[in-house]
């Protein structure tokens, strides 16, 4: 089912928890609501669930405006961060609870419960109480309870945050595959950019209740439209350097404290068109910088080196600005060593310091 939010707002007293958000979720898509804590993503989810009523704006499920519909009448399933299983009921009773409330015939209930339990692989646990299950098992049960109603919309609240690191990686893939197999329109909330990147077809990035970006993961990573998006997506995060566009002898260069970066070709033209002498913020991801001992675009001092296994994360200072670079695992240099940085011309981002908008896209 297609979901459409139109200028949706939720105010708590004077606080605008959600501020004029408009999103269209196509039928069968998997959408992440991503943002730092307090950005309004959970409020938005609870409005979709019918727990909160919107202050203004409309929520449409298909053609129907559901603003005033009670949760139980919305045909939704939801998995909570805490799983929210009913502790006094067995796993089986938990799973069939939504069907019991619909007064379906006993054999239908039983059949669907077993089909569901098989799908999420909890067949062996049906007689247990939730308290006897591990976190991963509880999540599977919560998932099957949410899915047994065959909902039009599935809501997931931080679905992975209570799992340990290894299980998180496994469940990430499993939930994504399950969603694709069932084709249920799904919206999930997360504060973890990696979770949003890996699982979602489309990411709605929120900040202070406002929608700042709504696009596909690779788009958000490669072509962030605002400084906030550039900073929030990617780990280790993008580096930012204050620079000035300099035109000299017909050529164009980016220059800053300790930075002198001549440009050529297409990118030079683009940057030139922004205007010489303009102060901008240069953004570049740690994997798009190379460290050498001889010469490059910037001079830097090694602050500390952190081995990641696959790479070395080199923390450097370009004058007073910290810069992180991903170097090959063989990289080695003592603390305080002087090195030179070379930046990949095709991967640089420029942002206006005032509007925080991207300038090169």
């Amino acid at each position: 089912m297609e979901i459409a939010l139109d200028n949706l707002s939720k105010h708590f007293g004077k606080v605008k928890a959600v501020d004029e958000v408009s999103i269209k979720v196509p039928d069968g898509e998997f959408v992440a609501l991503l943002g730092p804590s307090g950005c309004g993503k959970t409020t938005l989810l609870l409005m979709l669930a019918g727990i909160y009523k919107p202050t203004t704006g409309t929520i449409r499920f298909g053609e129907k405006v559901v603003n005033d519909l009670l949760p139980k009448d919305r045909k939704i399933g939801m998995v909570f961060q805490s799983y929210a299983l009913y502790p006094h009921m067995s796993v089986y009773e938990n799973i069939v609870f939504p069907l019991r409330l619909q007064r379906l015939p006993a054999n239908v209930v039983r059949d669907r419960a077993h089909k569901m339990a098989e799908l999420v692989q909890v067949q062996g646990l049906l007689d247990r109480k939730p308290g006897q299950l591990s976190g991963g098992q509880q999540q599977r049960v919560a998932l099957s309870r949410a899915l047994i109603k065959e909902p039009d919309l599935l809501l997931l609240d931080e679905p992975l945050s209570n799992l340990d690191a290894k299980l998180r990686i496994a469940m990430r893939a499993e939930i994504k595959r399950l969603q694709k197999d069932l084709g249920i329109t799904t919206i999930f909330v997360t504060h973890d950019q990696l979770e949003a990147m890996t699982m979602a077809d489309r990411i709605a990035l929120l900040n202070n209740g406002k929608l700042v970006a709504y696009s596909q993961p690779h788009d958000l990573y490669d072509r962030p439209k605002t400084l906030f998006a550039a900073e929030f997506i990617g780990s280790p995060p993008m580096n930012f350097l204050r620079i000035r566009i300099e035109e000299k002898d017909g050529g164009v260069a980016l220059a800053g404290e300790g930075i002198q970066m001549p440009l050529a070709g297409e990118i030079a033209q683009k940057v030139k068109s922004l205007g010489g002498g303009r102060e901008v913020i240069l953004g570049i991801r740690p994997e798009d910088i190379t460290v050498a001992t001889d010469s490059g675009d910037a001079k830097a001092e090694v602050y500390i080196i952190e081995p990641l296994g696959r790479d070395m994360l080199v923390d450097l200072h370009v004058q007073a600005t910290p810069v992180r670079v991903l170097a090959p695992p063989t990289f080695n240099a003592p603390i305080g060593a002087s090195v030179a940085l070379t930046m990949d011309r095709t991967k640089i981002h420029l942002f206006d310091p005032q509007t925080e908008q991207a300038l090169l896209n």
């Binding site: 609870l46 669930a49 019918g50 727990i51 009670l70 949760p71 139980k72 919305r74 939704i76 399933g77 939801m78 909570f80 961060q81 805490s82 799983y83 929210a84 299983l85 009913y86 502790p87 006094h88 609870f97 939504p98 409330l101 619909q102 309870r145 109603k149």
Partner: protein, 275 residues
């Protein structure tokens, strides 16, 4: 060895401090079985003091009549207390309404309020609504006085039930009332059981309220009956008094023995960390 001696000191102190209490209980038991006592030495072992079980003491109502009155007081008290507390506690824990904060403060103030001060005012109220000297009146008064604590304790239990579970029930298809009844109440069942036992035992041992507002001997509960045995005559038969005292005490002790773990819930359930 001096180390061992040192660690024995607290035990010795504790034993010394506990002795008077233990001696008191022992005397209670011995006295109920003997005609007279010299200190702890009984003289004339007898079951005479326990005759009240089969035959009323002088002009008083029979012990079984008294027992019936006590139950007629304590059972409704417990049930009403739990019913009202569980509803009010839910409202205070979950709903936002004007005056909620004030109501909470008031509740706790009322709990700690010296009830003796209220007796005169309550007397006039009971007389006005024609419930003076009736078990119903005493039950209503006791429930009112017990509610503040009951509501606070229930609120504590509800506070520990996560919002998520309620939301899940709403989404699964429950109404608000159904959510409370089928999902939330079963979760706090240990709290309900604890409060029920607590209130019931409170009613069983209650003295001031029934003493003040019940005059007819046949509807007085056991604690008033017991007190009346010591108060009315110039010569008090301590043997009988101690026997009746034990009679009152024994079911309470048994009750505690079997329901102790529920009572523990009362405080630990509402509190983080617990026992």
């Amino acid at each position: 060895m001096p180390n061992r001696l040192r660690s024995a000191i607290p035990y010795v102190l504790l034993i010394l401090l506990t002795t008077p209490i233990l001696v008191g209980y022992l005397w209670l038991f011995i006295s109920s079985m003997s005609a007279r006592t010299y200190g702890l030495r009984p003289e004339g072992l007898t079951l005479e003091n326990w005759r009240f079980l089969v035959e009323p003491i002088r002009s008083r109502p029979s012990i079984w009549q008294v027992l019936l009155s006590t139950l007629a007081f304590a059972i409704p008290l417990g049930l009403l207390d739990v019913t009202i507390s569980s509803m009010a506690g839910y409202a205070l824990s979950r709903l936002r309404f004007p005056g909620r904060r004030m109501f909470l403060s008031f509740t706790i103030v009322l709990h700690a309020f010296p009830s003796a001060t209220l007796l005169i005012a309550i007397f006039f109220v009971l007389r006005a609504i024609k419930l003076y000297d009736s078990i119903l009146g005493v039950v209503l008064v006791s429930v009112s006085l017990g509610l503040p604590l009951g509501i606070w304790l229930m609120k504590g239990f509800y506070d520990n039930v996560s919002w998520d579970i309620e939301m899940a029930a709403l989404i699964d298809g429950c109404s608000r009332l159904r959510t409370w009844w089928s999902v939330v109440l079963p979760i706090i069942r240990p709290g309900l059981a604890a409060l029920l036992i607590f209130s019931f035992l409170g009613g069983w041992g209650a003295y001031i309220i029934p003493y003040t507002f019940l005059v007819t001997a046949t509807i007085q509960p056991i604690s008033v009956f017991l007190q009346s045995l010591t108060g009315d005559y110039t010569f008090v038969n301590y043997g009988v008094v101690t026997a009746v005292g034990l009679f009152q005490l024994l079911p309470v002790l048994l009750f505690y023995l079997f329901t102790q773990r529920y009572l523990l819930n009362l405080y630990s359930g509402g509190m983080k960390g617990g026992a």
